[in-house]
Amino acid sequence: MSATTTRPQTRKVVPAKGDRPVAVASHGALVLWCVLVIAPMLWTLLSSFKTSGEIFASPFGLPAEWSFTNYANAWVDSGLGDAFINTVIVVGTALVLVMLLGSMCAYVLGRFEFFGRRAIYYLMLAGLTFPVFLAIVPLFFVLQNLGLLGTLPGLIVTYVSFALPFTVFFLYSFFRGLPVEISEAAAIDGAGEWRTFFQVMLPMARPGMASVAIFNFLGLWNQFLLPVALNTDRDNWVLAQVLASFISSAGYAVDFGAMFAAAVVTIVPVLVAYIVFQRQLQGSVSQGTMK
């Protein structure tokens, strides 16, 4: 900008004067926001190492002793370990199924012309608008008739159908946006529909798949209403149910330390998923395909 600068490559970027108050204000707001989000999590983490007594005596102090007693208590005594394994099984299986079925469904709806295509798509959209609360009672009886009530497969089937509309809705537009020429090139290269889908289109849809997968993972991992209504057998409980039981069942004799430990155990996988998928979420769609 200035003509007197002789070496423009080392020139410092000086923000215009009006920018500074804006920058300060926005950074201030962001810092505040970070504190609001991170502080409760840190507090939960700290509290998970304290005894109940310590928590009430000094809510914000450091624990006297860094011990994993709370974790051991929660994991073994309160059945958190079993619930964790149940949750992993249910959410993991449901996630794989819903991604597989959802992507195939979205691909067909998005890229093939056939009679009833729109009708099926709108039916899927209708599934999105349908409140779960309305479906609880009928779902209960459907699962009962199927003999799946209170079982993990029953919960998996429910989760899959629960997450499918959003998955299809999201991936539908994603597959529509992928260039047609690629599938034509694959057709000329000799790939059939299955190979085109699995070896060409699906890898291209990876960023979209990752986004949907993480949304589904969060939604299903934190799912509370469906398991409470449909998964009443204590042996099959998932994490959310165990967490709730800390507060509700024991009444005044709550082991707060163990409760915080259980909360940390529930939160950590979600955080890990976020961190692992973060790069995928930012990846661009079909870079390098065209031109």
Partner: protein, 374 residues
Amino acid sequence: MATVTYDHASRIYPGTERPAVDALNLEVEDGEFLVLVGPSGCGKSTSLRMLAGLEDVNSGRILIGDRDVTDVQPKDRDIAMVFQNYALYPHMSVADNMGFALKIAGKPKAEIRQRVEEAAKILDLSEYLDRKPKALSGGQRQRVAMGRAIVRQPQVFLMDEPLSNLDAKLRVQTRTQIASLQRRLGVTTVYVTHDQTEALTMGDRICVLKDGVLQQVGTPRDMYDTPQNVFVAGFIGSPAMNLGSFKVADGKANLGGAHIPLTRTTLDAITDEDKGEITLGFRPEATHLVSEGTEASFGIRVNLVEELGSDAFVYGEMLDKEASEHISSGAGDAQVIVRVEPRNPPMKGDTVYIQIEDGQKHLFSSATGQRLPE
């Protein structure tokens, strides 16, 4: 290697009445480089996609060699196609992109590797085999797309405007590379472009389409020397031919004062429907400057001079108002383009007199637009 035959092949898109390709009859010889050319929407890409099997054929047949492929799946036609946008698989390396078809065909890994490396050598891509398409330049991606076609060793190459995404310099360079590569491999090639220069420089024969209808097929020389109708005359050649409808009187066409004599044969071919007019065309390069008053010459007021070094083109209006209204050229209505000696071109505002060189005029029927015999 094989011939390609379009036998009255038509394509009508659902919901439209006019065919995108109307009863196309075309024979491509074994090993020939045929260029389909025409303005956008003329059906050239549709014709190619019909041959590829990406577009249905509503009536007629398409043959590759002696085999009727009208209802054959693209993958079973033994063809390879280069797309305008290249359509590379973004998640595969260059080598995998090129070898994908062979992998599907179940060829052994060693053979795939060998054929991919051979093609890469021809196309100067050897050092990029492990890269992903996004790490390549536009020209390199174009070559990968070519490579993908070459490794298949197909019967026919189909190319859909493969150069349109390259910059001007690279386009000229790649143009000659593709043409010489095709001559070397000897594979029958159908090439689609909207650029008549590309068509003239690359094709063994050129096929001009307009509104889904075949206009003329011939060698570049045929197309330039004897365009069969007004459309081909105006489309082939750069700058485009000057074309106008003029009154015929006393066996001569009246071109704004210049009386161009017509032969007996031509005059006999003019029908009542032509209403005593004839469409006369002359190329900018088929003229020369003469002094005022020379027989069969006419005057032009210079609006603009375009100097290219090797040539200079004069853009101007004919002095005669009436004739001027009826003529058009590559520069638009009422404009004439004339090539002049580049060393001392006329100035803007000058008036120059030109004469059409002997045997260089093109005569068409005013009513039908068809070429008239001379």
